[in-house]
Amino acid sequence: MSAALLLMIGLPAFAGVFLLLAGRRLARAATGLSITVASLTLATAVVAAATAPAVVLPFVSPDGAALAVDGLTAVLLPTVAAVALLVLVFAGAEGLRPEGRFHGLMLLFTAAVMVTVTATSLPALLAAWEIMGATSYALIGFRWQEARTMPAGLVAFAVTRAADLGIYAAAGAAVVAGSGWRLEDLAAADGPWLHVIAAGMLIAGLGKAAQLPFSFWLSRAMEGPGPVSALLHSAAMVAMGGYLLLRLEPLLLASGWAGPAAAWIGAATAVVLGIVALTQSDLKQLLAASTAAQLGFVVLAAGLGATAGGAAQLIAHAATKALLFLVAGAWLTAVGTKQFPALRGIGRRWPVAGAAFLLGALSLAGLPPLSLWWAKDAILAAALHIHPALYAAGLIGAALAAAYSAKMIAIVWAAPSRQERTDTEQRLWDTEQAGTRGIPSAATAPLVVLAVAAAVLGILAVPGLSEPFRRLLNAEAEAESTVWELAASAVIALVVAGLVLRRGTPSIAAASHWFGLERISAAVLVRPMFVTAEALARLDGRLNAAVTGAGRMLGDAANRAGSLDVRLNAGVNGVGRVLGRTGAETDTLDHAVDRTLGVITRGTASLGHLVRRAQTGAIADYYAGAAMVTVAAFIFLIVVR
């Protein structure tokens, strides 16, 4: 069913562009159109996943846009389409405005994700990859009137594009290596180029997945509206970084070093960003750091070759995190802040949203029997087979996840006294924006759906039950978690969560600022770039001065030549006069000679005049001069010939 494949991409793409062009004229009709299109996209995505079609279209090369659905794609397509639909329903219920621009960009983004997931060749992949980045920029800066949003979008776009350069480099290296641009052929490249390709793709994946050292862009991306974070910064765009590495696992393994590098970077991110998450005092910042940390498990899985575990983690995390971001967004809209002190006990005020949030947070904590517990343990089982240190790092990451989740739960479900509550409402609410004091009931429906998904999706990674899923991904041989491992991680999560609920969390100043990653990159890369740019601009000024100086020197030279000419003229004139006088005196010379000399004199004089005129800057004279040079060149040519 290649029609389903094309519709799944074409529908949101065209609808998105249409909504963007139609602008404000559609107003609320935009929401209806957008939800309809998103539903159709989900339906076609399911059909495409079931029928596994393939299409080859010309793009940069005759087969540049090769799209196909295989096992990994088949599980991701419905996930992304479903989350997109739920998020759009939520945003529609919340009444995010202007509708045309928001829904248009979201649909365009969804189309780009659909292409990313199905692309089997580099040009199409890179194209969709960068369009995701650009729509993300526009969505982070959705409220462009606020000073903070656009610079945040710029940071996010610039950092991810810097990583994207890896794909450009890989595509170039694939040309040298003669392997072609098909993703499955990349691993067959030989020689040093294989390593360039692997490095390029690895960097691109790490950048999008907000892994170390790129993580900080995700912190800035939190300036975007809640639904944007729910789709882009949990289920789709960030997840695509993890997806790409899972997809390219053969390439990573073929290079020898890229697989372990991915595994270690993933594990490090799970730990470091876990610590960052633990120390945040802003709900969305905590969720962002946690997203990077959870994606760390996916990247770890990709490095280990644990496709099934990685895919299960991607899906379970997508549902869990989309839910948490949506609730955070709903609270932000309702009370105008996402700072923890202001959110104490907010779960009790809107119980449905609070309960959904609780379920999501428990899943994020890795508590049994919720989805992320199963998924994460499938990856940890694979890690234990490769290297105990990776397993240990993974366990630490899991413990941190339990800790920061418990921190959220402790705050959201705190039971402040009435006095304390009115105090909070008066002092701390509406500090970031004006709150509406309500969560529309239509907006809670998607929350419930996502909460159920976050609870049960772990089935994909339950030992014994995960057979069909593993077969779909061709991953039957991968290690499954044992009862002991599952029990160990459950105990660790429970103990850590209990400790945090009881004792609270430590505050680490460095971690609360994301370990200064952005400041470091500014100092190491951005500032030197601007300093160089300023220096080059000065150099350019000097070059200009040199050019005009040279021009002036030429002018001076012409002037001097001109004055020389005048003197020469005078000399000739003088000679002429002397000769003429002599002629007249001696009478031996013909008058004709005198006349001839007069002509010469006049001629020379007028020539001198001409040269002097040439310095007036009148363009016609320069042109005449140049034309004379041209004519001279021609004469030279004819003579030579």
Partner: protein, 495 residues
């Protein structure tokens, strides 16, 4: 047919120039009609013309100066056809833009019609003398555009432009004469000169000839360090003058590389390709970095032109590095270079039109004097954002097609081309920074009460941007047009 397309604009231009009684508004309409008819004829020619013996379409040849081995020889192929079509489109956009011009509209229309003929003639010429004549006439035309309709320090800028590019053209002429002398029998015919072994001189002589030609073309393109004329010329040129200058006249330089320098001196090109590659990489990075710190919008766009033309130079240089199994990469690089010429023409044309809106409304190009402009002028903001993203090479627009091919092809023959990759990152930062400063945040400064785009402005921009998107999504037809010529050139470059 080709001659009609060439000279139709200038004939209408002469008529406009002498017809004093014509009302100003009607003059603009006549101009627009002429450009549309010319573009329509061009499209008919593209669709119908068959390929002749020399691999050229719509070939025409009339004896002109037989004793000099020069003839009136026209013809189009995969390199010239896209640029001819680009010329047609750009002048249509300029004519739409100027429908309500108040400053001497009739002479301006006449001058631009003259310029159109010179641009078309240059891209269709198959004789070096003819090429040179159009090359120089375009410089003269542009001088009058800048000096006559420009603003600011326009006379000085026009003179600098004229002298600099004219000196460049003299170097080019010397090179042409060298080519003429090197051929046996002596000829200025470009088809004959492009045949294998046409240049019979010593390698040293060939080196000097190539140096002269490259110098002339490098000034016109312009590449670092011959770009000093570009920024002042753009800053002080009228809006549509900047458009023609950036969209078409810069292409004359880069077109010269693929049309003259590479096929006529292939051996020498191969020997010196590394120099070209270095100049290309330096231009890319230099142009991007200097653009990054500009505060004048027109200067900024001018420097991004140096960056974008740098990709072309990089690609044509890399295409000259021949090794085992590099044919595919070379072809990619050349196709990328030509696509970039078209793409840059359309995108930068749109950007200069948008820059003109600033001057038109407030008289200031200063980025710092605006803020939150998206509020009063949302359509303007939308077009600027789209054009900026197109210029920074976002997929979905033509720039990506060009740059992806340029990079993959160049890296395919010269791995050092990787060094140019940060260019697309820096352009991204500079465009988005400019956008952010001017259009977002609180509405302040000159943005207050800024009128949004008029209908004719929207129309002209739409014409350009629709093509940019079309090429970006369906590049097949354009690439198919370029491919045969690129293949031929790659064959020519094989030792």
């Amino acid at each position: 047919m080709l001659s009609i397309i060439l000279f139709f604009p200038v004939i209408v231009g002469v008529a406009l120039a002498v017809w004093r009684g014509l009302p100003a508004r009607a003059g603009g309409l006549v101009w627009l009609a002429a450009t549309i008819i010319d573009l329509a004829l061009l499209m008919v020619l593209t669709a119908t013309a068959g390929t002749g013996v020399n691999g050229l379409k719509a070939e025409e040849r009339v004896n002109w100066m037989p004793q000099l081995g020069s003839s009136y020889h026209l013809g189009v192929d995969g390199f010239s056809l896209p640029l001819l079509l680009l010329t047609g489109v750009i002048f249509v956009a300029c004519a739409i833009w100027s429908l309500r011009e108040n400053d001497r509209p009739r002479p301006q229309a006449a001058l631009f019609l003259f310029l159109q003929t010179t641009c078309l003639g240059l891209f269709a010429a198959q004789d070096l003398i003819l090429f040179f004549v159009f090359f120089d006439l375009s410089i003269v035309g542009m001088y009058f555009v800048i000096a006559g309709w420009g603003h600011g320090n326009n006379r000085r800028s026009a003179l600098l432009f004229f002298l600099y590019t004219f000196l460049g053209s003299l170097a080019l002429l010397l090179g042409f004469i060298g080519l003429y002398l090197g051929a046996d029998p002596h000829t200025f015919d470009m088809v004959e000169l492009s045949q294998r072994g046409a240049f019979t001189g010593t390698p040293v002589a060939a080196g000097f000839v190539l140096a002269a030609i490259v110098l002339g073309l490098a000034v016109k393109t312009p590449t670092f360090p011959f770009h000093s004329w570009l920024a002042p010329a753009h800053t002080d040129a009228p809006t549509i003058g900047s458009v023609v200058l950036a969209s078409l006249m810069l292409k004359m330089g880069t077109y010269g590389f693929v049309r003259i320098a590479m096929p006529m001196l292939p051996d020498t090109w191969r020997s010196w390709a590394w120099v070209i590659v270095i100049v290309g990489i330096v231009s890319v990075i230099f142009g991007a970095l200097v653009a990054l710190v500009q505060t004048n919008i027109k200067r900024m766009i001018a420097f991004t032109s140096i960056n974008h033309m740098g990709y072309v130079i990089l690609a044509v240089g890399a295409a000259g590095v021949v090794g085992r199994n590099t044919a595919e990469a070379q072809q990619l690089a050349i196709a990328g270079a030509v696509t970039q010429m078209v793409s840059h023409g359309l995108i930068t044309g749109a950007l200069f039109l948008l820059a003109g809106v600033f001057y038109d409304r407030t008289g200031s190009y200063d980025l710092g004097k605006y803020g939150g402009l998206a509020g009063p002028a949302p359509r303007f903001a939308g077009f600027f954002a789209v054009a900026a993203f197109a210029s920074l090479g976002l997929p979905g627009f033509s720039g990506f097609i060009a740059e992806f091919q340029v990079f993959t092809g160049s890296i395919g023959t010269v791995p050092w081309a990787l060094l140019a990759l940060p260019g697309i990152l820096i352009t991204a930062v500079l465009f988005l920074r400019a956008f952010q400063r001017v259009f977002t945040g609180e509405t302040k400064g000159l943005s207050v009460g800024f009128p949004d785009l008029h209908r004719r402005e929207t129309m002209a921009l739409t014409v350009l941007m629709v093509l940019v998107v079309l090429i970006g999504i369906v590049p097949g037809p354009l690439l198919g047009m370029i491919a045969p010529a690129a293949e031929l050139l790659v064959g020519n470059l094989q030792p």
